[in-house]
Point group: C2
Chain length 195, copies 2
DNA sequence: TTCAGATACGGACTAATGGTCCGGTTATCT
DNA sequence: AGATAACCGGACCATTAGTCCGTATCTGAA
């Protein structure tokens, strides 16, 4: 039984999320946003911050969950091509493209999210596992039997934050090029067509 | 003109490399090998360590360079299928497979190597760029024109340390399965054949 | 409205760690 | 042997995630 949260706690939680969002969007690099910065930006003590989110990783994941809420809903229960009831091939392509776009729109946050903190890697994060499972299932439906799990990992590896950051940043790939490239890879994996 | 290194410096450098090698192989996680540990293990002061290698990343890269020396030579000037003069498709497959094997044989070191330290990502490391360029060129020879650079990144993303660690570690994939999976991916990218 | 106690606040404090500094030591060359 | 440049080592510094606990605040009941 979790009793309702106290109002000041809720207010502070919101303030922290807003401040962190702002800081990650602004900062030169996500690693340069310290928890002290976030606390100061939110006008809150550090203890409060850690009480609310547990750890740096917890804060980042909460923020990410907030940012990806619409996408998650669209995938879980929205209309095609993202939602259920879509042709599996098209759904895989749509989901990967949507993930790519979200990541490009939140570069620093995504980088922070995928930075391994302590011993926890990207692959242990519940969200990753959810998407991976979904893609695996879809790939299986498409006829890739035992390979589907590995292929799902490989598709997701193609949209990893640091790779995108490298391509978009220091190598100047446009969003259009990236989407086309990922689409081509998906096509290759799904249909085996050579482009 | 760099004058010859003093003998004690050379000795210490070797001791540090040996100690670091041992520690990374033994430790539970690469992040848990601190520079103090390495210095203590080598029976050397911290200043010496940093003088010799510049930074933690420098030490790790030096160690990696040592470990991959044979592979590098085989690729640069060895016999087929790794060396020059091989059919490009086969060479891509051979190189990726060799990289995979080296990474599996040095899991912790590879994890440490690919951990982003500060603002420097994997993609800025000279070794990555060398391999990437080589693969790009080979892919171009095989007929993948403008896509070759992106495809090379994607192939290399498939053998990233943390992914391999996840697959081999907490999910129990065997080396054989991993090699087969990567080989299948390469085949897909090269020939567009569907498995 | 008041009050009691559970809940949350906040910022000083801790621990861990990468990296720096410089007085003292040692190899090397003549 | 002696002069000198290179090197050593470990105390020291700065940064940062995370903890602790005395104090302030909210909330529900009387």
């Amino acid at each position: 039984m979790t009793r309702p949260q106290r109002s000041d706690a809720a207010r502070n939680r919101a303030a922290v999320l807003a401040a962190a969002d702002e800081l990650f969007a602004t900062a030169a690099a996500p690693a340069r946003v310290s928890m002290d910065d976030v606390a100061a930006g939110a006008g809150v003590g550090k203890g409060t911050l850690f009480r609310a989110f547990g750890s740096r990783a917890g804060l980042i994941q909460a923020l990410w969950a907030l940012r990806t809420e619409p996408l998650r809903r669209a995938i879980e229960s929205g209309p095609p091509p993202l939602g259920p009831g879509t042709d599996p091939s098209q759904r895989v392509a749509a989901i990967l493209d949507a993930i790519l776009v979200v990541k490009l729109d939140n570069r620093h946050l995504t980088l922070a999210l995928e930075e391994r903190s302590g011993s926890a890697s990207l692959y242990e994060q519940p969200q990753y596992q959810l998407v991976h499972r979904l893609l695996s299932d879809l790939l299986r439906d498409v006829g890739r039997g035992k390979e589907s799990e590995l292929l799902a990992h490989l598709l997701l590896a193609a949209v990893r934050a640091d790779l995108l950051d490298h391509l978009a940043g220091s190598r100047g790939s446009s969003r259009r090029q990236l989407r086309a490239g990922v689409a081509a890879l998906v096509d290759l994996v799904l249909n085996g067509s050579s482009g």
